[in-house]
Symmetry: C2
Subunit: 324 residues, 2 copies
Amino acid sequence: MRQAGRYMPEYRALRQKYSFLELCHTPEAAVAASMLPIDMLGVDGAIIFSDILIPLEAMGMNLQFDEGKGPILSDPIRSRSEIGRLRAYDANKETRFLPDAVRMLKAELAGRVPVLGFAGAPYTLACYAVEGKTARHYSATKSFMLNDREGFKELLFRFADAAADLLIAQIEAGAELVQLFDTWAGDLMPDEFRAMALPAAAHVIERVKATGCPIVYFVNGVGGKLEDIASSGADVIGIDWRVGLTEVRQRLGQGVVLQGNLDPCTLYARPDVIAARVRDVLAENGRGPHIFNLGHGIMPDVPVAHAKALVDAVKTFGAPGGYA
Amino acid sequence: MRQAGRYMPEYRALRQKYSFLELCHTPEAAVAASMLPIDMLGVDGAIIFSDILIPLEAMGMNLQFDEGKGPILSDPIRSRSEIGRLRAYDANKETRFLPDAVRMLKAELAGRVPVLGFAGAPYTLACYAVEGKTARHYSATKSFMLNDREGFKELLFRFADAAADLLIAQIEAGAELVQLFDTWAGDLMPDEFRAMALPAAAHVIERVKATGCPIVYFVNGVGGKLEDIASSGADVIGIDWRVGLTEVRQRLGQGVVLQGNLDPCTLYARPDVIAARVRDVLAENGRGPHIFNLGHGIMPDVPVAHAKALVDAVKTFGAPGGYA
């Protein structure tokens, strides 16, 4: 999760040649970034290098990444009338670089590990479109949502179709599993989540499942919304670290496929501590179907040796096929 | 919750005369700030104006509030050996201004509404002591906790006794209900919460309950830790807005006393929307014992008229005694 390889010196070398957005826009460079964790860590899947805000840029919003400040959209959408500024979007045209990168990555991997695609979920895309940046409280987004419910739903469904189009383009190019990232939907009151974020995410999931490709739905901060997430229709439920897998399996069933959920900050601890915590998560999950992952994105300043300690521990403590 | 009256012009007028810390340190000024929501909004309790970091300052840490940047502790505690820098602390001596302010506030109110005291919970105090500021991920805190578990527990229990001392001093001065704020403990993995934050908070709660005064334990982001919170021994469980009161009552019982849980961002919506959302929360809680509150602190830029709309709606929709 989060940009593949962002914590690696090799990635920083790539960034000497390309800005962050140029990396996203240039298939050869995106593939080089995507390959770093495969070659250096031995992870079991290759996540295509991209960013969730790519479709907003393709719909005409002015996207920039200022060093150290995160994304800036200088023309935020604060009302229903401003939704009209969003342009129609063809995922294989304005964002053709992404399916192209997936195809190149797949050829480069030659079957070593599967290619994973992703997109931002509608509510999370709406948060960035309305705020124009990473915000502390998403108060402008929530004001829009509370004061003009039909207008906000219109925005959510514009982004739902954009996200579905982008995921389907990645699947057609060879992605074997895709993930829908809802970083900010966990911050909603559960009734608002059910009324707003969930139906829009479910629309993406329904369109993607029609292709036959499995989809992961990840909501950051999912502890108060477990049954709702399970009703999304996703094949795999991504779980952040603030809720225990024991509780999740008790409430959603032993058979549900879970992805997660080590606290990303664990990677700042000593390698022996990282290994012990990986073992704790695997033990807590038990024999249920599980994709081991962090509970959210990896931090850019984590030592590569610590990321490697995590991968090694998963391979050591996860008996072959035992937690598949 | 959060500084009483911070969103009011009258508060900003007070801040022309006193810095934030001077307000905390000056009983007359703290009482004036505490009275603002009583006089202007008609709330049912008076929260003493103070800050959770006051005991850290009293223990010798260098606390400053830079305008717009939040608290800064220039001498963070990053290891067990640095715990020795913390000085012994007598709540009625180094922080005498706080019980003094409680006494003055109680006299000023003359029984109109009860006086509420508060303190930061041990894990949250440790987060500030270790990071030296409001952080994004609390990675230094978690590194310390993961790499030196006994050292971190020592730090937690130093702060547990400081928080208990400060709460008991407020109770002895007349506070009729106190709250323990654990803003950052919800961010822990549940097993770490049980091993670290919860035992230290339970120690505070046990010491406070020995006085006979009821105590609220509030953990921000409690959805993945409900049964754990209920085991803390607190008389009242504070609930943030990311989990529904229906789920909380199903899991913790209809008789548990809950405090919460409207999303603070709701106060940016129109007054009629605020009223409707208040009614939704009261309806969701049903007839169980309930202290209506926001799910976390009020934002400083909320219009006073919107805070008033909330109080009026609670009084309108909460039948007299119905949700007490």
